[in-house]
Amino acid sequence: MPDGSRSAENSSSHGADASPVRYQGVTKRYPGADSDAVHDLDLEIPSGEICVLVGPSGCGKTTAMRMVNRTVEMTSGDILIGDRSVKDGDAAILRREIGYVIQQIGLFPHRTIGQNIATVPKLLNWDKNRTDDRVTKLLDLTGLDPEFADRYPSQLSGGQQQRVGVARALAVDPPVMLMDEPFGAIDPISRGRLQNEFLRLQADIKKTILFVTHDVDEAIKMGDRIAVMKKGGEVAQFATPTELLMEPADDFVEDFVGADRALKRLALMRVRDVDLWNAPSTQAGRRSDDVLNELKTSEVPYAVLVDGENRPLGWLSTRDLDAETVPVHPDSTGVPMIDADTTLRDGLAQLLAGGSLYGTVVDGRGRLTGVLSVEIISDFLASKEAAEVAIPAVDRPHDD
């Protein structure tokens, strides 16, 4: 479980690890509108948890989130960060204490990556050394090369820019972060990787995070708790991902979560949590006969060619092993390579996308840990385990 038990004594001052966020009867009606965008919202987000606001477009999820940093002003009610109302004081000052990540990232194209990350420290007049140290630390934390500090945003890929966006939001170690569809503009493959990385990061920093998305799968993957919102700005259900999938509160939620709930349960399980199959692995230049012998008793009819670091390079069929020694080039390089931290659902998607029955599973450093097959997944779906609640639903990936 995430460490949600951090006590409320964490105030909302800088450097606090996290603070709880409480919505108290929050209502927003836009001028000229004839109904509320958000209606009488009560939510309590324990400190250190990711709360996902999910729902169809126009359900008020973004409005609900943006009232926290007052980029949208609420009509009535109150929001507390720790024990302080967001309405106290100047909005610009408040926003400097809340991390903010948006879908379009919004990096400043005229500032270097380092300057982008240093934006809020500079607004708060941190001295140069402290700022520089923080920038270096954040680049490291978000998996970016330290030499990126002097580059401009246009010189980075979309995924790298999004990491910078996260680093910028974390710059002054804010107790609360708002993330508005942060991975929405990223291609599906990179999105999965960024999600995994972010969960690993969150396991370390344990911020209180409000996360908006319209994608149920993302909500299930990212959320400790999920608030499903419906038109009119009301919460249809506020629950853990498991509860949501097992016991949808009403027809709307059931419909929204989707008819493929059984399949979605795959998203509650990670690849490393199931028993993977083993395939013979070998390096180029080894004796082919040894590998062929191993193949006879293997669950997988192919061998995996790996490099010196045990990182998979591709598959070898029996025909590839005709020669006396193992060839340098594998039969098919396009193996689906699956991150062990990926959910089973994404793993299956990768297998299907690759048109393959088998995929190599690698750990955080890219080393082979086993083979995922379509059969493993179908067996899992058929098992009693999948139908039960007692699966490690909200287990976050370990910090490896």
């Binding site: 610009a92 204490e97 379009q104 809020v120 246009s154």
Partner: protein, 241 residues
């Protein structure tokens, strides 16, 4: 009617004690000898021309830039500002000089006012376009991060509008250098005087020399502002790598 074939020496002292010989008497297209002997007479008009251009563009920039920032904050102001500067841009400068006649008479001030009026639209349009082209996600992020409106304007919006601002400044400056030759009609000095006076518009070499100084001045200003723009937008170069 002016006789364009012969030099109509309105100013009898014009060619006195200046060598150049037959070339000038025959009014050939270009007499290098004239330039060698008379380069000093172009110094003052050139300096006056510089004063006209720098004053007009400087004042024009200050006014148009402020108007553009106002119109960026309050969108409804953009249309009236565009219309007003559009009228000032459309009225030919030479006409403007004399419309001012009853108010400011003839002289440098009149010339600068008319030239300034001409620059407003160009600069206003470019600054406003630049500010409006700042990506909305960037301003949203800036707001969400905790920039005050003023900090956002000076640290985010204006730097990002810089390419358009600089482009407007280039167009305005180069056009004004050319246009300022007309200031002579307002008694405003400048290189126009060397095109018209002394020879009453018939001395080819004089026209070419004064015209060329104006063209070179325009090119130098253009290059200078271009360079300034590069220095102010280092991220543009990085993107091109």
């Amino acid at each position: 009617m002016i006789d364009f074939v012969q030099i109509a020496a309105v100013d009898p002292d014009f060619f006195k004690d200046r060598s150049g010989g037959g070339c000038i008497q025959d009014n050939n297209l270009f007499c290098p000898g004239w330039v060698v002997d008379n380069y000093d007479r172009y110094v003052d008009p050139t300096l006056q021309h510089l004063v006209l251009v720098l004053s007009a563009v400087g004042i024009g920039f200050a006014i148009a830039f402020s108007l553009a920032i106002l119109a960026h904050r309050r969108r409804w102001l953009a249309s009236p500002f565009l219309a007003a500067t559009g009228v000032l841009y459309t009225i030919p400068s030479i006409s403007f000089f004399f419309l001012l006649l009853p108010l400011t008479g003839r002289g440098t001030t009149t010339a600068i006012i008319a030239l300034t009026a001409f620059t407003l639209q160009i600069i206003f349009r470019n600054v406003l376009t630049g500010l409006r082209n700042v990506p909305v996600e960037v301003t949203e992020a800036a707001r969400g991060i905790g920039y005050t409106p003023k900090q956002m304007l000076w640290r985010v919006e204006i730097p990002l509008a810089m390419p358009e601002i600089v482009a407007g400044l280039r167009i305005a400056t180069v056009s004004t250098v050319a246009l300022a030759t007309l200031a002579v009609f307002a008694n405003g000095g400048g290189l126009g005087g060397e095109i018209i006076s002394g020879s009453n518009l018939t001395f080819k070499t004089g026209i070419i020399v004064a015209g060329s100084i104006a063209v070179v001045m325009a090119i130098l200003f253009d290059a200078l502002i271009l360079l300034l723009g590069r220095l102010l937008t280092p991220w543009k170069r990085a993107a091109a790598l």
